[in-house]
């Protein structure tokens, strides 16, 4: 994978009347990488993607494709292709006709088109006899693949994905996520993907950008985002984590308004006085003795939830509701209304500000 | 406006709307203004380009034209009420019960709409007239010869109900189709009986369609003329007939125009008041 930047965003901004949808976004996307922008609804990720694809005009800033400014280039001239949320397959055409559309527009003759279409269908594991099948009769997963094949047909430099998996059921989604990652590897193309699910992003992406209210608040590999979230928003975005406010005590330990006791901090960020402590559910354990871990809290089991191979417990301590996850085999836990001792090691916790 | 502003004003929506709006301006708005202009012209003249006056309006209020107005409004109202009762079960069937046959049934019911209304009314004459289909059969089978029902006010209403049925039916069907099945089921589940479900849920949710159907029927019925003439035998003179007389026998175009203006005011006021309150996107999308 080349380290050259294929796409550069400099101060990219989009304003709709009073609303700033995208707020001075800077980003470098490397060629061949799978980059995902993750954020809650309304954070501006769709608007950002549409600007890159050419369906919205930026209010400010620049989009550079291989160093060349493409702000004013209309969508039909950009060497990029978008897979829409609704897939936007042409309902009046067959699978083959959909895939060949971009080639037909460009005047490629029929035999060459068909060869290319069949090649893509093989690559995307669509049976050859689907060539003449109307797209309206294809299943959800098949339609995804047709949409992808259509986008790949004329060999674009970047492929954009607008939450294409959001309307699909869980099992199919898991399968398609892995397939997308495989196709990315096989084609070697640059993929830019947007979703509201961090879990989905982490399965597929080389790098992730977390977006909030029009700004990219953190960019990094899935591992980096997961282990070192930059602030409270990013860490809460990752799903259920334990977060509570803390401040640094005179004796180098942390105290909290929400949880009784004092705690050994992990590595302190410079000039840290107060902020939030983040502990992941799987890093918390049920203790028999307090000194099994560096930090401990006494609480009461409120409820438990079976999550397949893991069990999740809700433990209330002070004003805080802790989420503790254990593997089913470990069988150390509690039952409802039990008084328990839970704890974590300082190295498994993260301090964030704001 | 600077050039760039001008260009942006011609956004896609406006551009696409222009041909239709131009047609309406020249073909609808302009003629209506022509009528208004004519109504102020001196009586028995044939051009609006003259000194305006209120003579025609005075004439209208002095004479008995209010009778034809009243007849037209009353007939239209009765027609609407009868049609609302007749069409609701049918609309309900089309929207909820007939399933995949609904389209075929609709097609069958729509076809008469495309046959000229005079023709259809004529068929009723053939049916009701002396020695016609109905009376001829009675005479042939039972030897009785009752009086023909034709050429009465009741027959006029019969004709109007017949002609305007599709205009009540289709908006109503659209309205009924807007009632989600699950909402009805929820109401029943919460303990409502059939009548309560109808009154509390189905009727209010179908109301936009029902109102549009009533409005459309009323407005068109107020402008009805063929029924009163052909099968009503002129036992009732609706307002449009008076307008027509003013234009033909009386050769008094300005008077006719003034009558038309009054009619337009009534219709226009009604339509504006009712249509204002509707979100057409929501209604038409469901169809």
């Amino acid at each position: 994978m080349s380290q050259q930047s294929i796409l550069q965003l400099r101060g990219l901004t989009k304003i709709f009347g009073q609303l700033t949808a995208v707020d001075h976004v800077d980003l470098d996307v490397a060629e061949g990488e799978f980059f995902t922008i993750v954020g809650p609804s309304g954070c501006g990720k769709t608007t950002l993607l549409r600007m890159l694809a050419g369906m919205e005009t930026p209010t400010g800033g620049d989009i550079l494709l291989r160093g060349k400014r493409i702000n004013d280039m209309p969508a039909n001239q950009r060497p990029t292709c978008m897979v829409f949320q609704s897939l936007a397959l042409f309902p009046h055409r067959t699978v083959g006709q959909n895939i060949e559309f971009s080639l037909k527009i460009r005047g490629v003759e029929s035999a060459a088109r068909k060869t290319r279409a069949l090649q893509l269908m093989r690559q995307l594991r669509l049976p050859e006899n689907y060539y003449d099948k109307p797209v309206t009769r294809c299943s959800g997963g098949e339609r995804q693949r047709v949409a992808l094949a259509r986008g790949l047909a004329y060999d674009p430099q970047i492929l954009f994905f607008d939450e294409p998996l959001s309307a699909i059921d869980y099992k199919l989604r898991k399968t398609l996520e892995k397939e997308l990652k495989d196709i990315h590897r096989e084609t070697g193309k640059t993929f830019m993907y947007i979703t509201h699910s961090l879990e989905e992003a982490m399965v597929m992406s080389d790098r992730i950008g977390v977006m909030r209210s029009g700004r990219l608040v953190q960019i990094g590999s899935p591992e980096q985002i997961y282990s070192h979230p930059q602030d409270k928003f990013v860490s809460e975005f990752m799903g259920e984590v334990n977060v509570f406010d803390v401040r640094l005590n005179g004796d180098g330990r942390l105290v909290s308004n929400a949880v009784p006791g004092s705690f050994v901090p992990p590595r302190l960020p410079p000039d840290f006085t107060s902020g939030y402590l983040v502990v992941r559910p799987e890093s918390m354990r049920f203790l028999i003795k307090a000194d099994q871990t560096e930090n401990h809290v006494r609480g009461r089991v409120y409820n438990e939830y079976a999550l397949g191979s893991r069990i999740q417990f809700q433990v209330r301590a002070g004003e805080q509701v802790f989420v503790v996850e254990t593997l089913r085999q470990q069988m150390i836990g509690g039952r409802r209304d039990d008084d328990v001792l839970i704890g974590w090691n300082a190295a498994d916790s993260i301090l964030v500000t704001g | 406006m600077n050039p760039e502003g001008l260009l942006r004003w011609f956004v896609a929506g406006r551009r696409h709307a222009l041909p239709l709006l131009a047609l309406l301006a020249v073909g609808f708005a302009a003629p209506l203004f022509a009528v208004i202009a004519f109504s102020f012209a001196p009586p028995r003249t044939f051009s609006p380009w003259q000194t305006p006056g209120l003579t025609n309006y005075e004439t209208i209020f002095a004479e008995t034209y209010y009778q034809s107005f009243a007849w037209s409004l009353a007939l239209a109202l009765i027609t609407v009420i009868i049609l609302a009762a007749i069409c609701y079960p049918l609309a309900y069937g089309l929207a909820k019960v007939f399933g995949k046959w609904a389209n075929a049934v609709t097609l069958v019911l729509v076809l008469p709409l495309f046959v000229s209304e005079n023709l259809r009314l004529y068929g009723w004459i053939l049916f009701f007239i002396k020695n016609g289909v109905l009376l001829g059969t009675l005479k042939y089978l039972f030897g009785i010869e009752p009086e023909s029902w034709l050429f009465t006010p009741a027959m006029t209403i019969f004709g109007m109900v017949y002609v305007y049925l599709p205009f009540m039916l289709f908006p109503m069907t659209l309205g009924v189709s807007m009632v989600p099945r699950e909402t009805v089921e929820a109401a029943a589940d919460l303990g409502a009986n059939r009548l309560q479900v109808f009154y509390e849920v189905e009727l209010p949710l179908a109301m936009p369609g029902i109102i549009i159907g009533c409005l459309l029927t009323f407005v068109l019925a107020v402008g009805a003329i063929a029924e009163a003439k052909v099968i009503g035998g002129q036992s009732v003179i609706p307002i449009v007939h008076d307008i027509e007389i003013a234009f033909t026998y009386s050769q008094n175009w300005p008077l006719g125009a003034a009558l038309a203006v009054l009619l337009m005011l009534v219709v226009g006021a009604l339509v504006l008041v009712v249509l204002r309150r509707f979100d057409l996107d929501r209604i038409l999308k469901r169809g």
């Binding site: - | 929506g13 696409h16 709006l21 073909g27 009528v35």
Partner: protein
């Protein structure tokens, strides 16, 4: 009772629909019966049957002229109205623009308007402009009423049109014309075709607007009306029945075509 309708209720509703259908078609059937009568006056039960009046009608030059006029007007109205209505429907439902909701109400106005009054108004307007009445003015008059109707018909199709389809086509490299030709028109085609049918049939059968604006030319409905008020002649039911059957064939034929093509597309 849940939202399900009972069997008894279903039967009642079907019976009601049947009764209404009979009610709607009865006059047309009477007309058909009358058209096969050989005698000069209408009597029921019909004493002698025959096709003599059909022969007379088909051989009449006057009738041929009428048919030509009606066809010409209907044809012109269909073509022009579908083009204007196509764009009008897109403005109605596809694009978001300021003034759209007022536009939507304006489009409806000619429909919510007594046709005879409209016909009269157009007569006055054309007169004030010094225009001569002919089939051309009748075409214009028909358009004023029919274009809004066709717009609504196409609009219903446009509402289920996914705008992402056009965006996808652009994204794949198509220019404006290609998008129109390859995506917009084909997908909206059923609505457009329905619009054509409506336009043709509504123009063919129209009386109030034609009455005031055709001038020296005469359409079939106008001729029938004149004959009707003058007194009975079997020529009227004949022409009427032919007209009705023709309309029926076009309507059912048209929808049959749509039905076949739709099945071929998905099947």
């Amino acid at each position: 009772m849940t939202g399900q309708t009972s069997q008894g209720m279903k039967a009642l509703l079907w019976a009601w629909a049947l009764a209404i259908a009979v009610f709607l078609y009865l006059p047309t059937i009477c007309g058909a019966i009358a058209s096969f009568g050989a005698s000069r006056y209408f009597l029921f039960p019909v004493p002698n049957w025959g096709l003599s009046w059909y022969e007379k009608t088909f051989n009449s030059i006057e009738i041929h002229q009428l048919l030509k006029t009606s066809l010409l007007i209907a044809f012109m109205v269909t073509i022009i109205s579908v083009v204007i209505a196509f764009f009008g429907a897109l403005a109605f439902a596809r694009y978001d623009w300021r003034g759209r909701s007022i536009y939507q109400k304006l489009v409806l106005l000619p429909i919510f308007f007594p046709q005879s009054v409209l016909g009269l108004a157009l007569l006055l307007w054309f007169n004030a402009l010094g225009l001569q009445m002919s089939w051309a003015t009748a075409v214009f008059a028909h358009l004023v009423w029919i274009v809004p109707v066709v717009t609504l018909v196409i609009t219903i199709q446009v509402y289920s049109f996914d705008p992402a389809l056009e965006e996808a086509a652009y994204d794949l490299g198509a220019n404006r014309w290609q998008v129109l030709r390859e995506v917009t028109l084909p997908v909206l085609w059923p609505g457009i075709f329905s619009g054509c049918l409506f336009a043709f049939l509504l123009s063919w059968g129209n009386f109030p607007l034609s009455l005031f604006t055709t001038g020296a030319d005469t359409t079939v409905p106008e001729y029938l009306y004149a004959k009707m008020v003058a007194g009975y002649t079997p020529g009227v039911p004949v022409l009427g029945t032919v007209s009705t059957v023709g309309a029926g064939l076009i309507l059912f034929g048209g929808y049959f075509v749509i039905w076949v093509l739709r099945n071929r597309r998905t099947g």
